[in-house]
């Protein structure tokens, strides 16, 4: 177990290193932010050198990279090239909004996918199971940004029930969260179904049934609860995909989270903001995967022995 723990943590640390290096490297390839900042005004080469000096861009790559890593750890992530706002402050505003969107849509999807998945598993191979399977395949085939546009077309433009974009909190959350929830439900139904299939045949489920418990108690209290561990694991491992979806959907709805922040930073070559936002999202994903893996290994000793 200890060996597995160390290997898993070392892998996560290495992945974080690779991600931060890739991002830092990509950002350096992107062109000269000093030229972007000076754009429009007539500047001499000396002015550009001064801008680079002031922003710390004339230092060697490894110095910039190390000071960036240090900044992530200490929370001093420098200032935005655009307007000089502290990067930590910008992220402090955007990150909770991204997490809000992610968790609300995950919760919405579980409300639908748990009963549907349980139903499909109980009626395995019958009409209801096939129907749920085909509908979930359709859900998996939607491009998330197009689904977002279609929801805007129907609920904001035609029916006028909901705002088409923007405004964090309240009714502005409904459409972006619904977009993500529909796509998540399509995957999660299948996960719930297969987790349930694994437990439905187990002896404790038969015992619970033979005690004469009501079917819903058997299904949700006995079968689902025991299938919950692999279920939570699979859902946790999809966190990366969820964040990827959130980033795209934020852009469509102009939701002021991390995805939007990163896209704005791309168009203005705002290195500190871009680098910090992508790194923080990536580290979050790696951390969630690590926690999920370790919890699963702690609960099921076969994992660490096999790996």
């Amino acid at each position: 177990m200890l060996g597995y723990l160390i290997r898993r943590i070392a892998l996560a640390a290495f992945v974080v290193l690779v991600v931060t290096l890739l991002v830092a490297w990509a950002v350096r390839l992107s062109g000269d932010p000093a030229v972007m900042l000076a754009q429009g005004s007539t500047v001499t080469e000396k002015d550009l050198a001064n801008i680079r000096e002031a922003l710390g861009l004339n230092r060697p790559f490894y110095v910039q990279y190390l000071s960036f890593l240090g900044g992530i750890v200490t929370g001093h992530m420098g200032r935005s090239f655009m307007g000089g706002t502290s990067v930590a402050l910008l992220i402090g505003h955007a990150l909770p909004l991204t997490l809000e969107l992610a968790f609300v849509s995950l919760a919405m999807s579980l409300v639908f996918s748990i009963p549907l998945g349980v139903h499909a598993a109980v009626h395995r191979g019958r009409g209801a199971d096939q129907l749920i399977r085909v509908v979930s395949l359709i859900g998996l085939s939607f491009p998330n940004f197009w689904l977002a546009l279609m929801l805007v077309l129907v609920f904001a433009i035609e029916l006028g029930w909901l705002p088409p974009s923007g405004a964090a909190g309240g009714s502005g959350l409904v459409l972006p969260a619904a977009t993500l929830a529909i796509i998540l439900t399509a995957t999660n139904v299948r996960l719930v179904r297969s987790a349930m299939l694994d437990t439905l045949g187990a002896q404790y489920v038969m015992v619970a049934r033979s005690k004469g418990l009501r079917e819903n108690v058997v299904l949700y209290k006995h079968a689902l609860r025991n299938g919950a561990i692999p279920l939570i694991t699979f859902i946790g491992l999809q966190f990366g995909g969820l964040i990827g979806g959130v980033v795209v959907v934020e852009r469509v709805f102009n939701w002021p989270g991390m995805g939007n922040l990163a896209f704005d930073a791309v168009s203005t070559r705002d290195y500190p903001v871009l680098q910090a936002s992508v790194t923080i999202l990536a580290v979050m994903i790696v951390a969630v995967n690590l926690i999920v893996d370790l919890t699963y290994a702690a609960l099921d000793p076969r994992i660490s022995v096999a790996a």
């Binding site: 892998l11 996560a12 290495f14 992945v15 690779v18 991600v19 890739l22 991002v23 990509a26 950002v27 390839l29 992107s30 191979g125 019958r126 096939q130 399977r133 085909v134 395949l137 359709i138 998996l140 085939s141 939607f142 491009p143 998330n144 940004f145 197009w146 546009l149 279609m150 805007v152 077309l153 433009i157 995957t187 299948r190 996960l191 179904r193 297969s194 299939l197 699979f234 999809q238 990366g240 995909g241 964040i243 990827g244 980033v247 795209v248 852009r251 990163a262 896209f263 791309v266 871009l274 992508v278 999202l281 990536a282 994903i285 790696v286 995967n289």
Partner: protein, 279 residues
């Protein structure tokens, strides 16, 4: 399985095949059907709604181009990216997995460590960063997706080969004195290819989705080339006045991807009955 259910499974396969063919064949023939590549502008009929004239069955866009023609031409980009990226990943991944699984040793260890790291990397974020910064064209997208996905095939292939190499028919082929490459090509590869085919089908669908979202966000294919993602980005501004400009390209993506997903799902049942759920 009850007979009507087996028929339903058959229906799923037929539906997948028909949908895929319906979407793919016109795209393959698009240069013949629309020699003008849908660029002709009918300025008198700008933003004309669908089903109004025979000339523009799906309507026209803001500068009078035929939506049907552009949807079909636009499929070229998506299908090229989807197929070539997967082809690249399959060739590299299958070969690497085959050798690692058959010979084991150092290569196997190195391959598995690379796979561990790659599978833990949040590729969507890295794709966004690189596409945003370096600018993307079709070939960069293909290359990027192939690099991101080859380990999936390597892993699947290795796992299958590991179990196959101990089988009697492989052992006896070896005892018979067949060369390694003969054993690998004639006996191991054909028996290990099933799970790879399933993964191919699902990943082509997946990469079509990925390409179109990157293009929609302005991080993919050049906006002057007709593509489904690019048309959706154009259509976004006209949702209120001309819904058809933004609806049909998205429908084309969904139907193509659905066709491939149906085929992949059916193939998984046929070729790989052990795995129940995999993204």
């Amino acid at each position: 399985m009850r007979p009507w259910l087996r028929r339903l499974r058959g229906t799923e396969f037929v539906a997948g095949l028909v949908l895929t063919a319906l979407m793919v064949i016109p795209v393959l023939l698009s240069d013949l059907i629309f020699p003008g590549r849908g660029e002709a502008m009918d300025l008198a009929a700008r933003l004309s709604p669908p089903l109004q004239t025979l000339a523009h069955p799906l309507g026209t866009d803001p500068i009078g181009r035929d939506v049907l023609a552009r949807v079909i031409i636009g499929g070229q980009v998506s299908l090229t990216v989807g197929v070539l990226s997967v082809l690249g990943a399959v060739i590299v991944g299958t070969f690497a997995g085959l050798l690692a699984g058959y010979y084991r040793g150092v290569w196997d260890m190195v391959l598995m460590r690379i796979a561990d790291v790659q599978l833990a990397l949040p590729f969507i974020l890295i794709a966004l960063t690189f596409a945003a910064i370096l600018g993307a064209d079709m070939w960069k997208l293909i290359l990027f997706m192939a690099i991101a996905q080859w380990v999936q095939y390597a892993r699947v292939m290795r796992g299958t080969v590991l179990s196959l190499r101990e089988r009697e028919y492989v052992q006896s082929a070896r005892a018979y004195g067949l060369r390694d490459y003969g054993i690998l090509l004639r006996h191991v590869l054909p028996n290990a290819i099933g799970p790879v085919i399933v993964l191919v089908t699902l990943n082509v669908a997946n990469n079509i989705l990925l390409e179109s979202s990157l293009t929609f966000l302005g991080l993919g294919i050049d906006p002057l080339t007709p593509s489904w993602g690019g048309m959706l980005a154009d259509g976004r501004g006209y949702l209120q006045s001309a819904w058809w400009v933004g609806v049909f390209p998205g429908l084309a993506i969904t139907l193509t991807v659905l066709g491939l997903n149906l085929l992949g799902d059916w193939l998984r049942d046929v070729l790989d009955p052990t795995s129940q759920v995999r993204g």
